[in-house]
Amino acid sequence: MINLSAETMRRIDDVIPHYPMKRSAALPLLHFVQEDQGYISSEAIEWIAAKLEIQPINVYELVTFYPMFRQKPIGRRHIRVCRTLSCAIMGGYRTCAEFQRQFNTGLGEVSPDGEVTVEFVECLASCGTAPVVMIDDELHERVDASKARELSEKIKAAPAAGAR
């Protein structure tokens, strides 16, 4: 059994009737549960499968395929740096290295202070303002190394704000 907030339960019950077949709601449910719990646990996979009347493997195979779903918790803030060509040409690798340096962390790990997880992701569709970075749900544009330092300072200075 997993504990989902009343709000998450409401969203789940609202979204299922959008589709003529329940299975279609798998991606929305995975998003809602991940937003609620921070990651997708094996209990969550079982729960979603039961809710949608499908087999757990049918949910598990989605979690392992779609890059946005994760099976482990991440840091308090999620920093996603675009790795693809237009951003890389404009210095995306330097931006990513700067975030890693600021939080003393490797790619895809939780930083030692638990503050962030820095990830390289593929094209975020904002190539004209490269390099771009998403911090949680917010897009930041033209993030060179110095702007990466500024953003890192803000994250460090505001531990309570934007808590997940």
């Binding site: 996603r80 693809t84 060509l85």
Partner: protein, 453 residues
């Protein structure tokens, strides 16, 4: 010749001070008046207008929109679905983002006209997972439109009704492929379906007839319904009608989005005048004209042949700068207009490293269903990564080409071509760089030259 003025049809209000993405602002600017008139007409008339307009899909393939609609199986008795492809994920493309974030009601009006014309009663907007705010903006806009009677039952007082739902993806590029998108919408892994028999127009979402259209394409439908197909077809050039948003990124002075009549602006005008030319002290080396899958163009190469102008065949001899930015010209010179994403590289960029970056993308994004693509994209990535980080060998260019040549044409979907074309074109056009690339010739990375792999 100086570059023509931009012709902003879709992006008319995008940068307007004070223009907001709410219903009140949209209606102050004449919003939903076209829908109001459209639902008074016969649906078939609207389909005819789109056919007459010559509108070609803006998502990548450039398939004529009216033809796509006319392929719908209307006799099956099954419901017809519209699926809006808002999965914008072709590297270099960022136009739909601005439509969704800044002018969502324009999209919704285009969707509702399309639904009315094709007797669709349920629509899904498949928006990429990396646009979380975009999904919220669309949901809010749909709620506003529903409250005002533009979405939902009994649209503007008629008996016709249609619902729009927003469906978020989760970070997979292959969901932009229309049958992969449909699988994803059904709650599965987005493995593209084989065609035949799974043409969406016949066996699409839930095995029902389905239209999959790109966000920008649907916005054009609104303007076609407004001005009429005939008038729309006079914008742009023959067989390449209307306007098109060109997204320019990479090493130019002014990257960004620019909307021109299709075929009225050349690559040279776009990059040198509109975008202000190369960065200080640099020269252009290469450009990818239609998203990262499109074959690269090398500055200095010539394209020669015969083309049709009106009824006559005339000879052409173009440099990269002379190419008109339309579907047919870019296809003629061996690349494609694709999704309109123009990626510019100057002389500071190593083509081996740029290809290494692209190969890493395709290797990450291959869905893994077809062996040539799954294994080939991985090996192309490994070879270019080894060249950059390990030992480059003189035969690597030929090796890369041999892998790429075994992918294209041997896969279920166009991803096979999409991942092979960059390697094939980079090696064909910059072969000497692949031959001579090595740690020794490369030396220490100069200041300001970015890492790409």
């Amino acid at each position: 010749m100086p570059a023509p003025e931009q012709h902003r049809l879709i992006f008319r209000h995008i940068d307007e001070p004070g223009y907001s993405n709410d219903l009140a602002c949209y209606q102050r600017n004449g919003g939903y008046e076209v829908l109001r008139k459209a639902v008074q007409r016969k649906p078939e008339e609207l389909v005819d207008e789109v056919k007459k307009s010559g509108l070609r899909g803006r998502g990548g393939a450039g398939f004529p929109c009216g033809v796509k609609w006319s392929l719908l199986d209307r006799k099956s008795g099954k419901p017809i679905y519209l699926v809006v492809n808002a999965d914008e994920s072709e590297p270099g493309t960022f136009k739909d983002r601005y439509i969704i974030y800044r002018d969502p009601h324009q999209l919704i009006e285009g969707i509702m006209i399309t639904c009315f014309a094709n007797k669709v009663e349920r629509t899904f907007i498949y928006i990429r997972g990396e646009f979380p705010d975009g999904a919220k903006i669309l949901e809010k806009a749909i709620a506003e439109a529903r409250a005002a009677g533009f979405v939902g039952p009994n649209i503007v007082g008629t008996a016709y009704g249609c619902e729009i739902y927003v469906h978020r993806g989760a970070g997979a590029y292959i969901c932009g492929e229309e049958t992969g998108l449909i699988e994803s919408l059904e709650g599965k892994r987005p493995y593209p379906r084989i065609k035949p028999p799974y043409f969406p127009a016949v066996l699409g979402l839930y095995q029902c007839p389905t239209i999959v259209n790109n966000v920008e394409t649907l916005c054009h439908v609104k303007h076609i319904a407004d001005m009429g197909g005939e008038a729309y077809s006079k914008i742009g050039t023959p067989n390449n009608t209307g306007t098109r948003i060109l997204c320019v990124s990479g090493q130019v002075q002014r990257p960004g989005y620019y909307e021109f009549e299709v075929g009225r602006v050349t690559m040279g005008q776009l990059l040198n005048e509109v975008c202000g030319g190369p960065l200080p002290g640099r020269t252009f080396k290469a450009v990818i004209p239609g998203g990262s899958s499109a074959k690269v163009l090398r500055f200095g190469e010539r394209y020669k042949g015969k083309r049709k102008v009106g009824a006559e065949m005339v000879e052409y001899d173009w440099g990269v700068e002379d190419i008109p930015m339309d579907f047919d010209s870019l296809a003629m010179i061996g690349s494609m207009g694709g999704s309109g994403g123009v990626i510019v590289m100057d002389d500071s960029v190593s083509m081996v490293e740029a290809l290494g970056n692209i190969n890493a993308f395709y290797s990450h994004e291959s869905c893994g269903q077809c062996t040539p693509c799954r294994e080939g994209s991985l090996w192309m990535k490994r070879i270019t990564a080894r060249m950059v980080h390990g030992d480059a060998r003189p035969g690597d260019g030929a090796l890369l080409k041999s892998v790429a040549d075994q992918i294209a044409g041997r896969t279920i979907c166009a991803f096979g071509e999409g991942c092979a074309w960059p390697t094939q074109s980079f090696v064909a056009k910059f072969g000497e760089e692949f031959k001579s690339y090595s740690k020794e010739t490369r030396g220490p990375r100069p200041d300001g030259v970015p890492e790409l792999v």
